[in-house]
């Protein structure tokens, strides 16, 4: 409870005290937007942790060896993630459902265990020290990027591109027989998602002093998936709400902080069983709509029509 009291009575003090938490929330929200884009086009891809790693490592390696300014490094990191996503996406996006999920997990682990741990420039298992790390200044670009990216993706879902994604999600066959180039639009979703994840990875190196290969494995992947599922993927705000909620939760209920994965697991199961559209799904923010409320609404409507 203290958490909320402080949030509303002393926002400046709250911000100073929880800076790292806020930064982490921002990064997780961008990651959630990244997985949302592929979800929105009807694909369960779990490759985001890998693209994050590409963004993060590229940024730090460039900062270490090249004189280029940091924003350029971060941008290159994000774009390189996009480039890799084309190479990975070409063969992988032919797969559907569970097979797509497995193949993308395979990509993440092959990248981490096969490449990152074996190429000397990545520091192998030791990780890399980040020379440009600035935990306090790093929050600014995160807090600026998040609303801009959220807005852009939200606009994107309203364009013809977004409509094509919806159509593919609802019925791939029908979409393709209506002249939608399904492989192309799937690929675009995959690339957008990868660039966003790569950018989030680059941002994260800015608040951490260290890039650690264990950060970019299956655990991270599942965490990102959880944001999207719990928040809901009807629109872009669902995953953001999911990310904010699940990242802040261990801080809000400190006594359960050790059991955060138990809490996460329970929430995940409850949501998928009782509210598959997520917290922010069709039907607005209501988490539980009691039966009497629905009945009351149903009785009210014909009366209003008179």
């Amino acid at each position: 409870m203290d958490f909320f009291i402080e949030l509303f009575t002393n926002p400046v003090g709250f911000y100073n005290q929880h800076e790292l938490l806020i930064a982490q929330i921002g990064i997780n929200a961008i990651l959630a937007i990244a997985i949302f884009v592929t979800f929105y086009s009807g694909q369960l891809t779990l490759a985001n942790a890998g693209f994050m790693a590409i963004g993060a490592y590229t940024t730090v390696i460039m900062s270490l060896y090249l004189p280029t300014p940091l924003p350029v490094n971060m941008l290159v990191g994000a774009l390189l993630a996009g480039l890799v996503s084309v190479i990975v996406g070409l063969p992988v996006l032919r797969l559907r459902g569970v097979f797509l999920a497995i193949a993308t997990i395979g990509f993440v682990e092959a990248l981490r265990l096969g490449v990152i741990l074996n190429v000397p420039i990545t520091g192998e298992g030791q990780g890399l020290h980040n020379p440009t790390a600035d935990p306090l200044g790093g929050i600014v670009p995160i807090l600026i990027s998040l609303p801009i990216l959220a807005y852009l993706v939200w606009r994107l879902t309203k364009t013809r591109l977004g409509q094509a994604w919806s159509a593919i999600r609802e019925d791939e066959l029908a979409a393709s027989s209506n002249g939608i180039n399904v492989p192309l639009y799937k690929m675009i979703a995959f690339i957008v998602s990868a660039v966003l994840a790569g950018y989030a990875g680059a941002l994260e190196t800015h608040i951490n002093f260290f890039v650690d290969p264990t950060e970019y494995g299956i655990t991270r992947t599942i965490q990102i998936l959880t944001f999207a599922v719990v928040g809901g993927t009807t629109n872009v705000f669902g995953p953001i709400v999911g990310a904010v909620f699940l990242t802040a939760l261990p801080e809000i209920v400190r006594q359960f902080a050790a059991y955060r994965d138990v809490v996460n697991g329970v929430i995940l199961i409850l949501v998928i069983i009782f509210r598959p559209q997520g917290i922010v799904g069709r039907g607005g923010l209501a988490i539980i709509r009691p039966r009497w409320w629905i009945r009351w609404r149903a009785r009210e409507r014909p009366a209003a029509a008179h």
């Binding site: 074996n118 994965d261 138990v262 199961i269």
Partner: protein, 304 residues
Amino acid sequence: MTQQVLNAIFIGSIYALFAVGYTLVFGVLDVLNLAHSAVFMLGAVITYSLVVLHGLPFLPAAIIAVLVCGLLGLLIEFVALRPLRRRNAPPISALISTIGLALIFVAIVEQATPGTLFSWLWQDGANSVRFPSGTVPNPTYHLGGLTIEGTKLGILIISVVLMLVLGYVIRFTQVGRALRAVAENRRAATLLGINVDRIFASTLFLSSALGGLAGILFGLAISDISPYIGRDQVELKGLAVIVLGGMGSIPGAVLGGYLLGLIEVLAFVRFGSNVEAGVAFAALFLVLVLRPQGLFGARLRERL
């Protein structure tokens, strides 16, 4: 080299035993049970706990643990799978709800230290432990320059026998026929009077019992028992195995298990331990992209 091949066969049989349960659920229910690796871990953890914390001899402890793992399979079915089936949710939902259960299982063990809620189950938190030496007699045999440890030989025999028994049950018994019928066509099976829900529950029980047993054997042979053995050692490798063999195919999973063991050992001999870790995922990725029906093709696929 022969010694290495021997190691491959031995680690391969643990992979195979784990993957058979994995693939069984996929074949019959059409869902990927990602809590399987957590059950694998709990098999080892429960046995360890019964032996070390509660002073039971190894054999009864292992039997109890296998049964408890079977019951956990029922828990998976009733909590994570059945409610979704009732709602006709897409198979992806089941994948996510089993991830939720896996998170819970791992976190419970990981947080258990002396004095906490689950200290009766586990007291070592995130640490790795091993069975005290002498829990199981381990004679070493020498055979023309080869060294064969008794436990590893035992593990090989146990897994091969179990897989043969499973194959027999599925091919030649009434339950097995019902199982294959449900896998083939759920609706037709219902019309023929098969209790589909009961078949699903027994599939989960069987699969999880096998997974738990694989965990016990792993803990015994590799001497590594921790909350993370499922997630880090077999979860994704198990996926690689069932993809290699063709998802849903039991003979495929067995062959895939031994094949992965062999690939890993060869990669280790040739390129060292760093490459060994990544090779399973490279194989997984390649097979899915080039030959999604599995290496052994569709012929094995239909034969559950």
